[in-house]
Symmetry: C2
Subunit: 390 residues, 2 copies
Amino acid sequence: MNPVSIVASGHTRFGRLDGKNLEDLIVEAASEAIADAAIDPAEIDAVYLGHFNSGMVADGFASSLIHQVSPALRFKPATRCENACASGSAAIFSAINAIRSGSADLVLVVGAEKMTSNTTEQVTRALAGAGYQNNPAEAGLSFPQLFGIAAREYTERYHDPLPAMARIAVKNHRNALDNPLAQMRREVDFEFCNTVSDKNPLIAPPLRLTDCSLISDGAAAVILASPERAKSFARQVSFRAHTHVSDFLPLDKRDFLAFEGPELAIRRAYEEAGISHQDLDFAEVHDCFTIAELLVYEAMGLAPKGQGERALLDGTVMRDGRLPVNLSGGLKAKGHPVGATGVSMHALAFRQLTGTAGGIQREGAELGMVFNMGGAAVANHVSILEATRA
Amino acid sequence: MNPVSIVASGHTRFGRLDGKNLEDLIVEAASEAIADAAIDPAEIDAVYLGHFNSGMVADGFASSLIHQVSPALRFKPATRCENACASGSAAIFSAINAIRSGSADLVLVVGAEKMTSNTTEQVTRALAGAGYQNNPAEAGLSFPQLFGIAAREYTERYHDPLPAMARIAVKNHRNALDNPLAQMRREVDFEFCNTVSDKNPLIAPPLRLTDCSLISDGAAAVILASPERAKSFARQVSFRAHTHVSDFLPLDKRDFLAFEGPELAIRRAYEEAGISHQDLDFAEVHDCFTIAELLVYEAMGLAPKGQGERALLDGTVMRDGRLPVNLSGGLKAKGHPVGATGVSMHALAFRQLTGTAGGIQREGAELGMVFNMGGAAVANHVSILEATRA
């Protein structure tokens, strides 16, 4: 079966966007994608929204806010998908199914979240809802606490990951300097990130502030097209593979640190695409916490278990390395408006593969990977994206 | 393209189910569907969850709670779909796309909601979130208020609908007497329903308590199969049509009473199936409020606009009529655990069409319709279901 393609993208700035509500963000990203595609919105067959919410904001029936983009969208089917922090990819994958099922040729997908109108405590509580609440031993654990457990376990099983984690923070902050859409464009050095201080306090031991992604507002959009419909677009980036592996939610039913779900989803994506990590020109991966990115290196096969730091020390994942990871700045510095994140990753990969990524462009990029994760390695979505050469 | 089929169902009792949380409800309905299908859960390729939530409960990452049904579900992709009160149908339609796309042959769909652990005020606020919040004129309106506006507008445009609405309440309460899964199995008479009293107070004028559906806990499940995979099952009910029309959310952008979205979705479903309402043996429709069921009669073409009551007075929609509507008791008396409702409608239609509906069986039913609505006529999902004769 010929693959589905991304043919256009839209992307708001990520950050604290006062004065813009969820609807404004959706409309802004969707409108940009429609303009980028140079289509009449009436040509869109269906819309999907990636949105987490979990009680954070109430602008109204979220999937139907997309109709506000244009009167031409009236009566188009709209569906919201939610897989916690992988909600954006859940929406994209549902859109791919809609196209491959024959029920749609052109689909608009928007991911959006409005977080900064909540207090940090409210956001932390909303995000904690993506953990398992029916086991007293883990109910109510915040996400920093969950990933703090992973970092402590890494120390026990292998060695102290904190220096590697600090290097990831430094790298992603450096990368975000070149991304005008990023929330935090400020260089930080290894010493700062690797030292607990007043300005870099412990959030959930051993995680420091610089090990944690940001609380953000933002939206991103892509337009997906069937193989036939894609031909009329100047730029086409096709899904050579897309895999989705959901693991058990309760921590006592799995070995969280082993990252089995991410590893399986990535391995299957490589197999489906017929590639190895050697073939990738870049990857945008889910660094909700720096320890997560370290574990993703290992799940990707860039280094054996417990040796992910090698990919940093030998330069592999650096912006001028063989396989730069999170050229955008990642969730760490680009920002993490939850429902937007998966769509943002795909939108920026589309830009990389069409040579339109601006300051963060990887020259000559032809093949990229997206890894978007919901919960603590629970919903694992991987895409292998390829530029279609005319 | 050969249609997707429902091959098994599960359904908890609806009602105030103290001691059962969201996970328990999901597991109960899914386990029953798996047993009904007589399959090994390992045969399931993907799972979809219909769940509204909107801040009502937090059992954890909802889509991944389905994995708790069986260790064999580990690593299966799980996705939550949310379209307010049509979340169940949104999950079913996404599952149909997954099958028709070729990515799955056998899909488990569960719809579930836990509402009674919230106060009525909390539920009312959560449901109000399915309205538009960015226009001060309608922000914060409760759903009884929204449908109260529809009833008042019906009076202005046509005539007083309250007697017809009372007849609908009487009919659906009567039907529920024969449904052991229903929440409220108590006969009420026309006089009681049509009179405001201490026991039947005004909720949102002119809506009386008996015009409103219930606050419920519950879950329902179906197993969907590809045409090829369905052949191995004893019972198959196929989708002759499934349509999804989403209307604008803000009330000032449409004529709510005209019910254009439901009407278009139903008309398209008839066309796709090549039928008229004359061919239907029964329908399960979205009577969140009795005025909604009255408007659905008109959208179905059972009577001209403003004359929906005819379908009641001439007996058409009664349980022994030509086209019985809501033999289950409907949302009105069966109950309305929001995310479960769309799946429940499909599960009970499956039972009708396989002669396994017990006390609510319509003898010889071969063709049925499901109409599930999210928001105030915003997300409109229609299925035309047909028994496959061996």
